[in-house]
């Protein structure tokens, strides 16, 4: 069984056609509970997100800043498992045509069973996987298992990546390359590095797949600036913060939808 159609490619093709970057949004599954996080993901889609990242919580999230750490802790407290993340993805899939990417750490995937997890991704309509602590070198078996099922893999690059690392990630990535804008963990920043444009351009030149930029993008103005440099823009912590502000499920969903719509407009739509 393989996942079909290729929503990731279609998303970037459509974005390129309208000469704008794709909007990628992040919501943690189970933050603060599974049903609310489902509505938040759908609110992102309603606000104009092209790719919905759904976070899978992990007890020891070394790549995440305080905001997403907090979301992960809430999700684990509400009993979120890998199975419930997959279930959430399946529900979101039934209600939106947007592409879905699961993002998380590798240990829960190993515990679930790599092949079993990939099969479940296909069954749930998950298009891509982002595992920040699984670099291409450690992912050889996983890459062929994912390719056999048509599940796209996303690999990350950072400002510290050397040309050979850039080549390795670009060659391994099947969905898109995720360029980490800052030397640091996830979380909105007041400003982005001055040399971001040059770095992203170098990666885009090398990469056969689209290149998105994330970590530190938290405002429409930043999204607009980054959208001019990359094929896609990822906004995570700024959305998680808006969910964490509380209120009814409906009020949170409206807050998230409006914010995502403002990001979408900033990208020229």
């Amino acid at each position: 069984m393989t996942s079909s159609p290729d929503r990731i490619r279609a998303t970037f093709d459509a974005a390129a056609k309208r000469r704008g970057a794709a909007l990628v949004t992040y919501v943690m599954a189970g933050d603060p509970d599974l049903a609310t996080s489902r509505e938040m993901a759908l609110a992102c889609a309603a606000g104009g997100a092209d790719i919905l990242e759904i976070g899978m919580p992990f007890s020891d999230p070394i790549a995440d800043g305080k905001t997403i750490q907090g979301a992960g802790e809430r999700a684990l407290r509400s009993g979120t498992s890998i199975a419930s993340c997959l279930e959430l993805a399946a529900e979101v899939r039934r209600r939106t045509p947007a592409a879905i990417a699961l993002m998380g750490y590798v240990n829960p995937v190993l515990a679930y069973g790599e092949e079993r997890f990939l099969d479940a991704c296909v069954a749930s309509g998950v298009d891509a996987l982002i595992l920040p602590d699984l670099p291409p070198e450690e992912a050889r078996a996983f890459r062929s298992a994912a390719a056999a099922r048509g599940v796209k893999l996303v690999f990350l690059l950072a400002p510290t990546s050397t040309p050979s690392r850039v080549a390795a990630a670009c060659d391994a990535a099947t969905g898109f390359v995720y360029f980490v804008s800052v030397t640091g963990v996830t979380g909105a920043r007041a400003s982005l590095p001055a040399d971001l444009g040059a770095k992203v351009a170098a990666v885009r030149k090398r990469s056969p797949v689209p290149v998105v930029v994330g970590f530190g993008v938290g405002t429409p103005a930043q999204a607009r600036a980054v959208g001019k440099l990359a094929d896609g823009v990822v906004v995570g912590s700024a959305i998680v913060q808006r969910i964490a502000q509380g209120g009814s499920r409906k009020a949170r969903a409206e807050r998230v939808r409006r914010f995502v719509a403002s990001l979408s407009r900033a990208l020229g739509r």
Partner: protein, 428 residues
Amino acid sequence: MTVPDATGHFGPYGGRYVPETLVPALDELTEAWQQARRDPVFAEELTRLLTRFAGRPTPLGDALRMGAEAGGCRIVLKREDLCHTGAHKINNTLAQVLLARRMGKRRIIAETGAGQHGVATATAAALFGMPCDVFMGALDVERQALNVFRMQLLGARVVAVQSGSRTLKDAMNEAIRDWVTNVRDTHYVIGSVAVPHPYPAMVRDFQSVIGEEARAQVLQVAGRLPDAVVACVGGGSNAMGVFSAFIPDRAVRLVGVEAAGLGLASGKHGAALALGRPGVLHGSRSYLLQDDDGQIVEAHSISAGLDYPGVGPELSWLKDQGRIELRTATDDEALDALGYLARTEGIIPALETAHAVAAAKDLARELGPKGLLLVNISGRGDKDIDHVRRELAARQERAASGKRRRPAGRRPATGPRKRPATGKRRPS
């Protein structure tokens, strides 16, 4: 000596499961370490520091009364507790700070559980005049207040980590996040072997001086190799340090002692090798304490240094190869062993080390009068005195209230009570 493959794998274990930002730094570190290994100037400078600053070589002493009480087995103690700063940790931190200076790094960070690695890193940083931040779980900051103050005296900043279980694993998470952010000018001095390549092999090599000295010393004093070598295992740095020289000596049993905490059946322990399943934590694949969903389970041990849910990849591999045997000691057994070594040999070991001592008592009895047992006394107990006093007082209080409830005629408890040896495992 066993060497991992070029990408740091010991069989299916080890490797590098880290965010991309860190990969270039790990590559740079690997390269610098490989160069330093081949450079006689580095070796000379490190040897000078180890002898004239850290106090090496450490002696190998006889535990005569302990051996006699165990039935005549000869027990020799490798006295890493006599190293400057009170534990084996200084062997590695001096080497890594020396390496950091070669690499042109301007800032040092470290994580610490018991505080020994933090103190040893702060000491090395002070010696080289480098700023040093030490991440420590907030719970450990409470348990090890004296070491916090020592680090501060040495000019380090101690960062109390409030996330998760507020112990060693969370301190590592936060240190990794700091490194991800400041990787260009910062070297992360890791004291554990339970981390990404090249650290497991590098830390083992920097600690292997323990086993190399001990092997030569035991041959000199006893004329033969020991029947067994015992060390406590948290992440496994002192165990790999003393074991590595003996790995090729197939007849020498290598016995790792993990923390059984409140008992293996209680679920509150630190026995990752004995009871864990392979997985990925802190950048390395190894045995881990985790639940069915792959979430890391909080460890428990009376000793902060063994209160960790993972273990080094090489130890995981040696377990699968059948080259190491595993035993465990509970909190109570470790406390008893600490008091026992103090009374019989005049040595107050660290609580971590006391786990090895507890297992050594049993092992010596099993080996009998012809046996020769080497125990790695990885650290001294000064840092634990307050904690031990509180724990013993709490146990005496419990014993006293238990005694009041008990029918008359029961023998009153005097001092630390012996508990039945629960949770001890024979090698599988």
